[in-house]
Symmetry: C2
Subunit: 124 residues, 2 copies
C-alpha cells in the first residue's frame, strides 16, 4: 500500500503499454497486391489484432537504397505478450493470412519475418 501510494494514482492505475516497431522488406512486384490486401475495405485479420490486444496498428512503406521496406507500429495492451502472440499465430485465419502475405515479404538477414526494432525515444 505504501509503495502504491508512493507511485501515485497514475502509477497504480495506468496500464503499461508496450510499443512495438518492426521492419521487413517487401517484394516490389507485390506492392500493389499488398496494398489491396491491407485496404480499409478488407477486414483481413483486424478482429484478431484486437482480440490479442494489438491496437493503433499502422504500416508504412518506403524505399531505402532501391529496396522497399514496410515499417509496422502498434501498441500491445495485454498482460502476456508472448502468450498472446503464440495464441494468435495458432489461429487458422492468421495462418491463411500469412500464407498470402508472407511470400510477399523479404525478411532482413537472419530474420524469419518482421524484425523488432529497438525503441530509443518516447514522448507522450
Amino acid at each position: 500500500m505504501l509503495m502504491a501510494a508512493a507511485m501515485g494514482c497514475d502509477g497504480l492505475m495506468s496500464k503499461k503499454v508496450k510499443r512495438v516497431g518492426m521492419v521487413v522488406g517487401l517484394n516490389p512486384k507485390d506492392i500493389s497486391d499488398y496494398k489491396i490486401l491491407h485496404s480499409d475495405s478488407n477486414p483481413g485479420v483486424r478482429d484478431l489484432l484486437n482480440k490479442y490486444n494489438m491496437h493503433n496498428f499502422s504500416i508504412f512503406l518506403h524505399q531505402i537504397e532501391g529496396k522497399w521496406y514496410e515499417f509496422g507500429y502498434y501498441e500491445y495492451t495485454g498482460d502476456d505478450f508472448e502468450a498472446d502472440m503464440a495464441k494468435m499465430d495458432a489461429e487458422p485465419c492468421i495462418r491463411a493470412w500469412l500464407k498470402v502475405c508472407g511470400p510477399m515479404q523479404l525478411p532482413l538477414k537472419g530474420e524469419k519475418s518482421w524484425a523488432t526494432m529497438e525503441q530509443v525515444y518516447y514522448n507522450e
Copy 2:
C-alpha cells in the same frame, strides 16, 4: 444536420488524427550520443512537440544491410500541420537541438532530413 446524423456521433465528434511515419539514417559513430540525447531523463524538445500537437512520439533504431536507420512515429492532433511545423522549426530551442542531432543523421537520397513514409494500413 442530416449529413452529420448519417455520419454518426463518432464521425461528428472525433478529431481526425494524422499518423506520421518517417525514416532517416544514423551515423553509427553517433548512436551512443543519440541515445543519451533522447533518454527519458533529458527534457530536450519534449515540450515543443506537445506545443505543436505532436503526440505519442516514438523513435526506433534498426540496422538494414549494414547501415543504421531511425524510424519515427507520431500522431499530429492539430488543425494545420504545415503551419505548426513551420512555427516549430522557427523555435530557437528546436534550432539548437537540430544543430546537435542533425549532423548525426544521414538523410536518404534526395532528402534533407527525415523522409515521410506512405501509410498503407491502419487498424484501431
